[in-house]
Symmetry: C2
């Protein structure tokens, strides 16, 4: 009832796919922001900010995402809430979201003054307990992509099965048999062929697909 004086913040782990700087392989990246005040001043941290009184939790995450990257998310899901007592002099409860950004959007993004994109598996030491949070988000993404069709949120609405498979391979960092992947993907019945093909390749033109829009797309949770 009475005010507890606990600060509420919302942070977001933002995932996007980009080529790895050395290997060139498509890899998971995420943006970090440099802290410009105490505590942990100068350290890299997850983008976030205080929850505004008239802002939904998810809206807060979306705003942070737009503010720090200039991008919009194609998928957003709550990850976990952290609120250990010892986090800092002023007690903070952080509600953390994770988000996916489409590759065609992220291609045009550039690092800002205090924003830097990092390869997800090569993160520097972060402020607070953000290392653990990133690891937790990575686990969640990798687990979820294996049983849920979230891979599509990295892609444009129309895509080939090879592109969809490439997303899985990049996220899970392992090769996947194209023939079996195709059958599994089509067996879900969530994939609809558009009828058209992707031309301009130096091989047989692949068919284009799109995902069926389901009602659960609005309430992922």
């Amino acid at each position: 009832m009475t005010d507890q004086g606990i600060e509420l913040a919302v942070s977001t782990v933002i995932f996007a796919l980009r080529p790895h700087p050395t290997t060139g392989e498509t890899t998971l990246w995420l943006p970090l922001v440099r802290r410009i005040r105490q505590p942990h001043e100068g350290r890299w941290a997850l983008p976030g900010g205080p929850l505004l009184p008239d802002e939904d939790l998810a809206a807060s995450a979306r705003h942070t995402l737009e503010r720090t990257t200039g991008l919009s998310s194609s998928y957003l899901e709550q990850l976990y809430s952290f609120g250990a007592v010892d986090r800092s002099p002023q007690r903070v409860v952080s509600i953390v979201y994770w988000a996916l950004v489409r590759s065609d959007e992220v291609a045009g993004a550039v690092d800002g003054e205090n924003v830097q994109w990092c390869v997800a598996d090569e993160i520097p030491e972060l402020a607070f307990d953000h290392d653990g949070i990133v690891q937790y988000a990575l686990n969640r993404l990798r687990a979820k992509i294996t049983y849920s069709p979230i891979a599509r949120f990295f892609l444009s609405p129309e895509f080939t099965l090879a592109e969809l498979r490439a997303v899985h391979e990049a996220v899970l960092v392992k090769r996947i048999d194209p023939a079996n992947f195709r059958r599994q993907a089509l067996a879900t019945k969530t994939l609809v062929p558009t009828g058209s093909q992707l031309t301009g390749t130096s091989h047989r033109p692949p068919a284009l697909y799109r995902f069926q829009v389901t009602s659960s797309d609005r309430n992922p949770r």
Copy 2:
């Protein structure tokens, strides 16, 4: 940085197994508390309370559990955080946990003045969005019991495979083949036979098992 004046509360969905009042079948139950002030005064709601400044999130959930039921939880996991702007005149962000209580503990519990245990699938209309939260917790429990050995948290440390199976059957509300269940359970290698048997049954005495204690028991998340 500045105080936002948002109230922080922690609620808990507490599950226990008891016989169904009419069918006698072992069924999922959960305790509800009657609200004694506005908003939603008189309505049933999930047990919970404001987060104290020096209290961990999980500790808050545990305290609520003990306060309202007089019991302790054998398992506690964060469920979700809710914080829509429209929840009430005073904005509240609720961090919700779910908990399991052992059957031998709950047997001795009695309903208090403003506490009532209800069959989980026959919940009355609740205050706030608590109906949805209960449903979400039920989904989570039913999903998790199929891939994680949480069923044991309803049981005493030593139990028979039939008792373990009965927990699965009660939670999922469906019959499970005893032979196949046994093999699956033993295949996980998390089950250790104690060497002793349960006597006093009017049939072949079943072997007693206990679960291996793993390090992940401390950080379920």
